[in-house]
């Protein structure tokens, strides 16, 4: 685990061994089985997660009981219900395993200590947050400019492995179309 997290961070900010030891001390590692929840709607959100292996989905359940997938989180991705995490409110979304998954957990307290104690890490998180914002804007743009067929093509192109790893019902829920419509897009 040490190695994966370190390599990930060092893509943006190089660290000395001492610095990484300091960073490392702020994380805990946990394993979850398929179908388990890391975050449940209505409960408090203790951690942000860095995915070492496996696959997660960030899901919003609407009043009528329908599932809407805000995001998938694969290896090397950060995920949480950031609204609830940063504002320390109850989760409005759930974070659930689609596969057995291993994550590094970072509590809000440790996140703040890490930023305060090592400017490099504040810089790292700034870069990640900017990247996340840009990615979300791209997704908004795909809703504005593209129909279901095009959005599906973009998804396949961007994350080819997803198509093998998750049921099409969930892909449909990510794309914002019914599973029947998605089923008919292929052809």
């Amino acid at each position: 685990m040490e190695q994966k997290l370190r390599e990930h961070i060092e893509k943006i900010v190089p660290l000395t061994d001492d610095e990484f030891a300091f960073v490392r001390a702020h994380f805990t590692v946990k394993s979850y089985k398929k179908r388990e929840y890391l975050i449940q709607e209505g409960k408090s959100v203790k951690d942000a997660y860095f995915v070492l292996s496996g696959l997660l989905m960030l899901v919003y359940n609407d009043e009528s009981g329908k599932q809407h997938i805000v995001s998938f989180a694969m290896e090397d991705w950060w995920e949480s219900d950031y609204q609830a995490y940063h504002m320390q409110t109850k989760a409005t979304m759930s974070l659930q395993c689609l596969e057995d998954t291993e994550v590094c957990c970072l509590s809000l307290e440790n996140y703040r200590k890490l930023c305060a104690g090592l400017q490099k890490m504040e810089h790292f998180f700034l870069r990640k947050a900017n990247g996340g914002h840009i990615a979300s804007q791209q997704r908004i743009l795909s809703f504005l400019t593209s129909n279901a067929t095009e959005r599906y093509q973009q998804l396949i192109k961007r994350y080819p492995s997803l198509i093998q790893r998750v049921p099409k019902t969930l892909l449909a829920s990510y794309l914002g179309v019914s599973r029947e419509t998605l089923s008919r897009l292929a052809r």
Copy 2:
């Protein structure tokens, strides 16, 4: 101008007079008239902008010539084509005035100097970036969970002044529906 920018920053990080003088030196103030461009598609993106007064829209023009509004930017908002700004690539979107607008401009070079020179400002931008990411996710959620009528209601509720300030054609373009459909939603 001094005052507005300072108050805005101090909502997140308090500054001494000296610190603010340092911050202030990294910005320039510019005025634009209605219809003028701050950023044009295909050109390089020099600055990120803090809106002192007026109203901007961040627009993507697709191949077929249709306009898609990624974001409006009102007083106290930050806006740019962040992808092009941070990656130093050509703009894929345009940033245009909907009203006469006054902004504080922050070049990428000055943004970096500011972050490097004053940790408080890196922290400030981290908070802003997190907020931006969260807001974008909320917008994605509204596309996933809501139809045109509901998205329009949410827009009215969230930014009531926009309805008075911008033509409905542009609101439609922000909501991802045709202007005719929007026109028929009201009733």
